[in-house]
Amino acid sequence: MSLSQEQVSQIAYLARLSLSKSQLESNTKDLNNILNLAEQLAQVNTDNIEPMAHPLHMSQRLREDNVSEKDQSELFQSIAPQTGKDHYLVPTVIE
């Protein structure tokens, strides 16, 4: 199975990336090469094998639901591209 340029274009859009025509061509080739490599996995017998999401068998630690972080919004917003009235600003979404 191999990906068409239309499919690669759709994948790029899902990942919020846009590709020029030449990038689309080269990426279609690259992505198909990588997926060909991944096809080797089909040879592995994984019947009754549990997926391993994490190297250590640990459970998520829980803590009391208390406020533990101090408010640093001013500091964090100081590096934002655009802010106003304590908000991050983006182009208008709804008129």
Binding site: Q40, L41, P55
Partner: protein, 481 residues
């Protein structure tokens, strides 16, 4: 001064043979003269302030073990008030508002940060050719790659531009550049060093560690870096050992496993013979050699190149031009802002991995790729479990070849194949090291050590004993003016 090891420098500072300011200035001068492009940012003013503060502590007699030692910090660790770029245009304007836990620990130990080391963009690469800030050159031959992704860190230590460096290793990014630059590098067990503030690539694989001249130096640095951190939900709740405590233990009776799969086709003959010569040296020191098998290690490459891109596509989705980092000029609407900020901000290899991840996680393909890879990962990890029933440590090559020419590997898949020996340890979460083991084609060759979970002390002991018998780790690339 720069020819001394970290341990010797620490002694020199303590004995007041030289001050931290003198030592720091000496390294800054060397960095200034260097053309390796090992650093993205040199923090000279900050370094001299930190060095002065360290000297004050030494004078007052309240210094700790590594007070005043200058180091290079991989530009993936957040450093408050200092640009933290992860080698990307996306974060070229990112002045971190907070310190990573590793940065904080190094500060608490009074270490002196010389600057932020160059790296492959978001740690994705094996040659340091994916940095927005340019290629790093191998100090042994400037036409060669230094390895990646911690290429700047490895080059800095090899060229003695810093006493040590920090690195991170997701699929070999500490061990492979350490091998290709002829230094010592340790990737600890997953969870040993906090990932808080370490810009995430693949969260279930990423692990930070020291890059140094010697195993003794690595033990000293790991003592500072390691430890439980409640800010990292995957940090291990285990006490930190003194990693220097067992360096001098005898390794007589050690059983070394050689995986036959690590010595098959694709391995350069000269690299193989250097690795085997090192193994023979261990035999002479009283170790026993045993063949082991890691039958699923052949699938480490496809497994890794599904798992890591899936995690990266998720991790890098936060970089959208809204809260920090790069934003495109004059976005016409929100979608245009996302699309152009990400397309202009990320480099080619990063985009490829994001797309592979987005595809492998999408409905209809998840089972065939991501789930399948996670199951294969389990089998790879089981192989090690079996092997460690019979042996104390696994040894083999780090990289199938010595450092290759800059610009010579053009396609992604060929580059991925060079990671064959390092990926398994990350997938299983095991600790691994690269130690200098000789030269082939006049370039350094590393020996890889893989240990069982939490066996960092044992690995450092084995490496230290080897370095008592050999002098590969003391070799320095010739400097031509």
């Amino acid at each position: 001064m720069h020819t001394k090891t970290l341990a010797q420098l620490a002694q020199g500072l303590k004995n007041k043979e030289f001050s931290s300011v003198e030592l720091t200035q000496h390294y800054l001068d060397r960095i200034e003269k260097s053309d390796l492009n090992a650093f993205i940012t040199v923090t000279d003013e900050l370094a001299l302030i930190q060095a002065q503060a360290a000297d004050d502590k030494i004078t007052k007699g309240n210094a700790s073990v590594l007070t005043g030692i200058p180091y290079a910090h991989k530009d993936i660790f957040c450093t408050q008030g200092v640009k933290t770029s992860a080698g990307s245009k996306m974060l070229d304007n990112f002045i971190s508002p907070y310190d990573a836990t590793v940065s904080h620990k190094l500060n608490q130990a009074d270490l002196v940060m010389l600057g932020k080391a160059n790296m492959d963009e978001f740690a994705m690469g094996s040659s340091n050719e994916n940095s927005y800030f340019g290629d790093v050159k191998n100090p042994w031959d400037k036409t060669k790659i230094p390895g990646g992704s911690s290429g700047g860190s490895a080059a800095a230590v090899a060229a003695r531009l810093s006493a040590f460096a920090t690195g991170t290793d997701t699929g070999g990014s500490i061990r492979q550049p350490a091998s290709l630059c002829g230094i010592t590098g340790l990737k600890p067990t997953y969870g040993r060093v906090s990932r808080y503030g370490m810009i995430a690539y693949a969260s279930s694989l990423d692990q930070a560690g020291p890059m140094t001249q010697t195993a003794e130096d690595a033990a000293l640095v790991l003592n500072v870096m390691a430890g439980f951190d409640e800010k990292d939900s995957t940090s291990a709740e285990r006490d930190v050992e003194d990693y220097t405590a067992s360096l001098n233990d005898s390794i007589k009776g050690l059983t070394i496993g050689l995986p036959k799969e690590f010595f098959s086709e694709g391995l350069d003959d000269e690299v193989a013979s250097q690795v085997m010569a090192a193994v023979k040296e261990f035999e002479a020191m009283g170790a026993t050699i045993k063949e082991v098998s890691l039958p699923n290690s052949a699938y480490a490459i496809p497994t890794y190149y599904i798992v890591a891109p899936c995690e990266c596509s998720s991790n890098l989705s936060r970089l959208d031009g809204v809260r920090y980092g790069y934003r495109c000029d004059d976005p016409k609407d929100l979608e245009d802002l996302y699309l152009r900020s990400r397309s202009e901000g990320f480099g080619e290899e990063v985009k490829r991995r994001i797309m592979i991840g987005a595809y492998a996680l999408s409905a209809g393909y998840y089972d065939a790729y991501y789930l399948k890879a996670q199951k294969t990962r389990h089998l790879i990890s089981e192989d090690f479990k079996k092997a460690f029933k019979d042996v104390d440590v696994i040894m083999g090559p780090v990289s199938p070849t010595t450092a290759f020419d800059l610009g010579s590997v053009k396609d992604s898949v060929s580059m991925y194949l060079a990671d064959i020996y390092t990926l398994s340890a990350n997938l299983a979460g095991l600790p691994g090291m690269s130690i200098p083991a000789g030269f082939a084609q006049n370039l350094p060759v590393g020996l890889q050590l893989i240990g069982n979970y939490w066996s960092e002390s044992k690995l450092l002991n084995i490496a230290h004993q080897f370095q008592q018998q050999t002098d590969w780790h003391t070799q320095i690339p010739e400097e031509k003016d």
